[in-house]
């Protein structure tokens, strides 16, 4: 690759530093980021500091929040500490969401970029395939997968990850279709870059902004999917996650609200904070808003 080639690639960088400044000026996005970082820190260090093991019986069953005999946020039907569950359960939930989000993003990127870049029969084939997945209700598809392969953290992650990739695939394809005819791509091709290099080094960086926003959305969807599966009783009963706490206590919603409310609150807070980050990213990458 020549100097000219490097120059072309670097010249098309969209100005990450400017976007970062834009992001910092967006207050909701900053709040979302802070909250999200706090949640991650709590799930990593919280269980060690708090001490109580989430899956053990800590006190009598169904003690309400503030009940002197029990822990701060009450206990569930076996007397397990809800606060310990919320702190510890975040590990599984965030792990599943992050890995499932990354999995679907990766699948979507590969399929979408191949379809968008090469076009023609490759595009037609891949997009018809994508449409099959798009046409299926994702949660239902995940349910069927879990039913077939059984519950378990990795299996749940897989079942969620493979059902969500149609959205990033279509988005990636659209970006690649748009960018492949741009002057800088033609320039890169003119100096002899191979297809792989053009796709990964020239087009992809320019397609990243909408994809990053989509990635945050996917993580939120994955959290909700996992909670949905758990609510239907389709996740591993031996693993503590926000969703599994809610799912296991579903029958007691009317009589012991705290067993469902606090893990639910954790899911809402996490989802909201990631969504705010996504919004902030979208605004930051939007050139029309820049400089306002």
């Amino acid at each position: 690759m020549t100097d000219l080639g490097m120059a072309i690639e670097s010249s098309v960088e969209t100005g990450g530093r400017g976007a970062f400044r834009m992001f910092l000026r967006n207050k909701p996005a900053v709040v979302g980021s802070v909250v999200f970082i706090l949640i991650v820190l709590v799930t990593i260090f919280g269980p060690g500091i708090y001490g109580t093991e989430a899956h053990k019986m800590a006190a009598g069953p169904f003690l309400g929040p503030g009940d002197d005999a029990g822990p701060l946020l009450g206990t569930d039907y076996l007397g397990r500490d809800i606060l310990a569950g919320v702190i510890t359960g975040g590990r599984t939930t965030l792990f599943v969401a992050a890995v499932a989000g990354a999995l679907s993003m990766g699948l979507g990127l590969v399929v979408g970029s191949l379809a968008g870049y090469f076009g023609g029969w490759v595009d037609a084939l891949l997009m018809r395939f994508t449409e099959i997945f798009q046409a299926m209700p994702s949660l239902l598809f995940s349910l069927v997968l879990i039913y077939l392969i059984g519950p378990g953290t990795w299996k749940e992650t897989l079942a969620i990850g493979v059902t969500m990739w149609a959205l990033p695939a279509r988005l990636t394809r659209a970006e690649f279709l748009r960018l492949r005819e741009m002057e800088f791509v033609k320039a890169s091709r003119a100096i002899g870059s191979g297809d792989l290099r053009i796709m990964t080094r020239t087009i992809l960086p320019n397609a990243m902004p909408p994809l990053l926003v989509a990635a945050t959305l996917l993580v939120v969807i994955a959290i909700l999917f996992h909670a949905g599966l758990a609510f239907l009783g389709m996740v591993d009963i031996n693993t503590v996650s926000w969703g599994s706490i809610m799912g296991k206590n579903r029958g007691y919603t009317l009589t012991a609200w705290w067993t469902v409310a606090f893990p639910g609150l954790a899911i809402v807070t996490t989802g909201l904070s990631i969504a705010l980050i996504g919004d902030g990213l979208q605004d930051a990458f939007n050139p029309k808003l820049r400089g306002r």
Binding site: H55, K56, M57, G60, P61, F62, Y77, L78, G79, Y147, P151, G233, M234, I237, N238, K248, G251, Y252, T253, L254, T255, A256
Partner: protein, 566 residues
Amino acid sequence: MLSLLAVLSLFATACGDSDSSSSDSGSSSASASASSDDEPAAEEDAGEAESSEDEEAATEETTPPPQPKHGGTMVIATTQVGANVNHGVNSGIGIAQPSSKIFASLTHLDSNWEPQPYLAESWEVSDDSLTVTFNLVEGATFHDGAPITSADVKFSIEVIQANHPFTGMWGPLESIDTPDDLTVVLHLANPHPALWIATSDVMMPIMPKHIMDDGTPINEMKGHPNNVAGAIGSGPFRLTEYENTRKIVLERYEDFFIPDRPYLDSIIYVIVPDEDATMLGLESGEYDSAGYASVINAEKVRNNSDLVAIPDLLGGVGSLNHLQFNMANSIMSDLRVRQAIAYTIDRDYVINTLHQGQTMELLGGIHPSSPFYNENVERYDVDLDKARSLLYDAGYKDGLDLRINYIPGPNEQQRNVAEYIALALDEVGINVEVMQSADLPSWAGIFFGGPDAWHMTMNAYFNWGDPVIGVQRAYVCANIKPGVFVNNSAYCNEKVDELLYAAAAEPDVAKRKALYDEFQEITAIELPFYGINALPIFGANQLYVRDQPDGAWGPLSGFENVWLDK
């Protein structure tokens, strides 16, 4: 002999076709079917019974009892869905509820488990207990006006023998004579004390021979159209509307054989998706009656002065909640391992804390409300040191890994207890993984997977009245076979076989009890099952519901005497 049964399915399952039987069945006995309609579900059932011990009723005794009134519609909520409305061809609470109103039986079973006249106005038993003669009520008719005769009774028994999963009910029957239209004579091979269960309420719907004996092979009566919409029955109510997953409407049969009965104009069974919906409907007054399984809901009903709480709705069904061990498995076949587990589980904690003191302790295979229950057996009270040393002796000094499955059912009874057991066993070095099943058939799959498919499971065998029907099947060597609700523990003890077969044919109640007592003593020690509690089926009625049957079958009997005081 006996087959199968029962399960509780509970909420979840959907119903299905009853004959998806996964077992081998075939010949004689039991075919165990995994389908949900065999399951009585623990839950619900519906209706209610006015219990004589009920406090509210007791306070009302001080004023003269009000006179029964005609009229009104009783709305009963249930979570149970049945495949049809004829309990003569399938078992299951969803079927039993409407079946017991649409079809009359020879006898009622009262709260002392004694037979009372119903379609049979009297009967005589020969001195050797081998011949029983029933005299039918004169003038009884089916819902199409045709007379009910001894031929219909004979036909009904034959249909039940050929189709019903409880093969123990009619096992000793040799022949049936019908000397005239109103007399039925049963000839038995040996004394058969369980006969009085078999002729009672829900177990013996009298079906119309002139409609059902239309060329359909006798063993294919499960598929006969008279089991569903348009069924012609013999009971106090006619089936007028049948949507088995939504509602079942029954209306008063004007020419019922007991004069001036029934009191109610109609009964509507509303099928609701879950207990929460049941509770909301009871509180709002939308439903007059309902059955449910949750102890939390039981507490709620108890604290609601607008409702009458019924502590145990279905003593006759005799639903058990127990831990079953797979003795075909190399680890679990060691008695010391099973004993170590038994010494670790705190039955009192389950009953008093997890179930808030609202369930009854269970020590063996017979329901605590049965006259044959024996409470003087080995209890394996908690002793963790003993449990550890038993495990050490058995060669597991570094602990061991086991799995516990649970039958899909009311969570408090099945899943929660399984989770508790897993946590408790952790204390003595047994690491237990809780295995969940999405539905009844997938849970039942463990019984077809060979000796290592499972170690232990929360299970729920139902007694269905007499030990011959619901208990024997789980313990006799001959019933070790693939299937569900057969002898899945693979437990085999010749002495126990002897006791059970002797008790099945023993007409003297005291001697019979002695035989069953010894059976319970032996099995409590040897632990094919570790009993935990009787699976409760609670009921709730609005205050104005009167004179619900208080017999062993509770709401699974004819409602000809029920009336609404409003």
